[in-house]
Symmetry: C2
Subunit: 244 residues, 2 copies
Amino acid sequence: MSKQLLLSNIRNVLARLEETIIFELIERAQFKRNDIIYQPGFFGLALGGESLVGFHLLEIEKVHARIRRYTSPDELPFFRNLPEPVLPLLHYAENPLRPNTVNINARIRGIYEEEIVPYICSSGDDMQYGSSSMCDITCLQALSKRIHYGKFVAESKYRADPDGYRLLCVTGDQNGLMKKITDQGVEEQVLERVAFKAETYCRELTGDGGDPKIDPVRVVDIYRRWIIPLNKEVQVSYLLTVEK
Amino acid sequence: MSKQLLLSNIRNVLARLEETIIFELIERAQFKRNDIIYQPGFFGLALGGESLVGFHLLEIEKVHARIRRYTSPDELPFFRNLPEPVLPLLHYAENPLRPNTVNINARIRGIYEEEIVPYICSSGDDMQYGSSSMCDITCLQALSKRIHYGKFVAESKYRADPDGYRLLCVTGDQNGLMKKITDQGVEEQVLERVAFKAETYCRELTGDGGDPKIDPVRVVDIYRRWIIPLNKEVQVSYLLTVEK
């Protein structure tokens, strides 16, 4: 079996992404909400109707597409029609997933901008528009990777028990699939580990830094309300394409 | 006096940048050294003779220049001839610095690639070239900001004691200026605070994550060997331009 599908490896990747996500949320939370950076058109015509964050994200994705980011099966773009890679393929990247088009980045972006930013940032405007949007992009990319890693989780579960999954997949039984992939015990473990990490990283260490950090409870809540449920949705959507 | 020149505000900015720098170093250290990403020309002709990191950094700087990053006096690019901003100037950004061209980013990049990466990453190649170079870019930007913040420190010190500085500046007395700006007590405080933060953030929390973090002693060492001395160099270089 592909190394990428070993459940122990998947769990390591997901656990390591917790650091990335918590660090990036803390970075974003040092700035205020800065609502105008999410308003389409606010920064003028040169942004093609996009918000500042949307424009910035698109331009960064163009750069990343050119250096081959999206040829990796664990990276999905938020935009379409990105340029071709300019890098030669140095090695054959084995892709253990089945062909699929599952990509919920549009929803992730909506939830991030409308729910998560207001949840972690204090309201107001500090004019740190560029810095805030840089943090937004790294947050969005980390969240997208974490959530879409559900594809690897689903493929791994499927291969471990194809007979248990096949009928649910063929009949498109979403509720049945959701029930079958759900492991309440593992979810609780994740939340406990995230709580422990968030308490460590979000602690006010010296009082010198000035900037407020995030309440660790909110980090756990972001996992509980959005990251874990969206990851499970990706698993179900992926499994529905498996037997086609 | 400009808010940006209040020594208490400067210290807050520098203290907050410690989180950013430590987080970014931890992020980079999850990947191996991946030496080939620093080799000019290795990834083909399309990169214009640059290394992968150089090409990636240049392309990101073009995006950031367009959204006005380098109109801010505390952000300096690594490359020249970047495109003009496409964003309208929303407000007049007050610049409390005197006109100057101090920019040691070329040296910062050399030290980062040749000294810091080998110091924090385990040797070898894990083929995570894109991810590693993304971390490199955010590390380089954070280090550059931290180091060039010396301009604000120097301007603030100068304004607090112009008579004490003027002759040293006029006569170009580098050693005298270095002595005058040096405050051993503050440097020790910074190193102690960085040590405390690094010990917290670099701790292996659960054993689940798998990836080794950085030895906190090395983070302190990066401050002692490079960040603080280069910051002081920037202060001196800036002061030498003040009375011209």
